[in-house]
């Protein structure tokens, strides 16, 4: 058996233009979200005088560091609607973007290890079904068929009592997703500008009129933040305080192995998740490090615990070697849901707070954020995600509800 070969990138993906002095829309951050937003601004709204400004290199932030899991089996209606919109877009995007980014709908199993988790998981399956989202509750015997390498013994500390299964869930090759959006956005006239750090805003009263950057000031009709873990560093300069805390989130990969792991397995209780990448690496992650940090490195004990949990679930991996560990900087909100919408500053828009789970939302958030920027008002799908929910108390508390993070 051999693993899946990766598709060859096309010879030219995007131009490297000099920034103009003014754009209709300036997007800060060229992660997946910034790129998808630029794409849908051009495609859905005909707004093509757009720049995406990136302090580092294109899609080198969390987009390059995530574990690529895609699913939409969230509990609450607001979350289910947004993430399933994204999943429906994922399913048509390889054709639309004319780019094979290896979307692999291999199924996502969320394991339950306690009686309470069984009840919570079944509740989530029912909620998903009521929302028209594919979801099944599977018993250990069926899990053994879906993922034969899982340890389903009753003698382990936290035996597997069952799992939810979303068959449409899976993984996609994250770098290629970014390049696919970048190429199409570039073709439609969007300027993708790397090595351009946004350092502040230009203001006329409470109206944002542009940004200050390491390449000089750039005027903008509208400014849309998509800067993930560094968002509050920017809004702090406006005195706009956001309910965000930036944390390290780590992941690791093994060497390349033959394809043995047929799906994605996540466990909230022992807190690890694992899938096998297209080339063959095992990709593993757990939760955030407890403390705030921008260092893009986390603590060893977090990785130790996640590997111990993985080994109990997958004894077959006992001799696999860790090849690489890394961390991103993720911005976590008090209710573990993102913030997408306008701000008290005219012409300034927010897309942040995705914490550990925003990759799966990439096309969905690009779609609704582009709508918000183009019309000045949220799309129906992101109405509940405004900043005001922290004042009204209408939180979308997916922390405990959505199984393991990510």
């Amino acid at each position: 058996m051999v693993s899946t070969p990766l598709p060859e990138p096309p010879p030219r993906l995007w131009r490297n233009p000099e920034p103009k002095r003014h754009y209709d829309v300036v997007i800060v951050g060229s992660g997946g979200h910034g790129l998808a937003t630029a794409y849908y601004l051009a495609r859905n709204h005909g707004i093509r005088d757009v720049a995406v400004l990136e302090r580092g290199w294109l899609a080198g932030g969390n987009m390059a560091r995530n574990t690529t899991i895609i699913r939409s089996n969230y509990l609450f209606d607001e979350s289910a609607a947004l993430y399933d919109h994204a999943l429906s877009l994922w399913e048509q995007l390889p054709a639309e973007l004319d780019y094979d980014f290896l979307l692999s709908q291999r199924g996502v199993l969320n394991l339950a290890h306690t009686e309470q988790e069984v009840r919570d998981s079944r509740r989530r399956v029912f909620a998903n079904q009521l929302n028209g989202i594919d979801a099944e509750w599977v018993e250990p015997a069926e899990i053994a068929e879906l993922c034969p390498i899982l340890n389903l013994s009753a003698d382990v500390r936290y035996p597997v009592l069952g799992a939810t299964l979303q068959r449409r869930g899976g993984i996609a090759k994250h770098d290629h997703v970014a390049w696919a959006f970048a190429r199409k956005a570039d073709e439609m006239g969007v300027d993708l500008i790397q090595g351009c750090e946004v350092t502040g805003f230009r203001l006329d009263g409470d109206r944002v009129t542009g940004v200050e950057t390491s390449l000089g000031p750039i005027g903008a009709g509208r400014v849309a933040l998509a800067a993930a873990g560094r968002t509050s560093l920017l809004t702090d300069q406006l005195g706009l305080r956001l309910p965000l805390q930036s944390h390290p989130l780590q992941a690791l990969v093994s060497e390349l192995l033959e394809p043995v792991h047929p799906c994605v397995v996540m466990s909230n209780h022992v807190h690890v998740y694992c899938s096998q990448a297209h080339k063959g690496e095992l990709v593993l992650g757990a939760g955030i490090d407890s403390y705030n940090g921008y260092g893009q490195r986390g603590s060893v004990h977090v990785i130790e615990r996640q590997m111990a949990a993985a080994l109990e679930l997958f004894p077959i991996f006992a001799r696999a070697h860790v090849i690489r560990t890394w961390a991103g900087t993720v911005d976590v909100t008090p209710d573990a849901s993102p913030i997408i919408g306008p701000t008290p500053y005219e012409n300034l828009y927010l897309n942040c707070g995705w914490g550990t789970g925003g990759f799966k939302a990439t096309p969905g958030v690009g779609w609704v954020y582009a709508h918000t920027i183009a019309t000045g008002r949220p799309h129906p799908l992101n109405v509940p995600y405004g900043l005001e929910r922290f004042t009204t108390g209408a939180l979308i508390d997916e922390h405990g509800a959505a199984a393991v993070a990510h």
Binding site: S290, N292, G293, Y294, G295, F390, T391
Partner: protein, 85 residues
């Protein structure tokens, strides 16, 4: 892995501690007078600097006491907020 200095027990491994977030966030003095925005600020909004951050840790696996430190959130360098006599 952080090496954290407990003022009572000395240098210990991070795994012995729990994180308590930003230091000096006091319960509002006149809670009845707070409007919704002020409550939101108190409940949900904390500083999130890249650089010096005054924060709390508790030595759960040791003396179980809380203390404040100043940590640089970019480099993880830590120093005591004030020297305990």
């Amino acid at each position: 892995m952080l090496l954290i200095h407990c003022p009572w027990c000395g240098d210990r491994d991070e795994a012995e501690f729990r994180y308590g977030g930003q230091a000096h966030v006091d319960f509002p003095e006149n809670p009845a007078e707070l409007d919704d925005a002020a409550w939101a600020e108190y409940l949900f909004v904390r500083d999130n600097p890249r650089g010096s951050f005054h924060e709390r840790w508790v030595h759960t696996a040791g003396c179980r006491r809380w203390f404040d430190v100043v940590r640089d959130t970019a480099t993880n360098e830590m120093r005591p907020e004030k020297v305990v006599p």
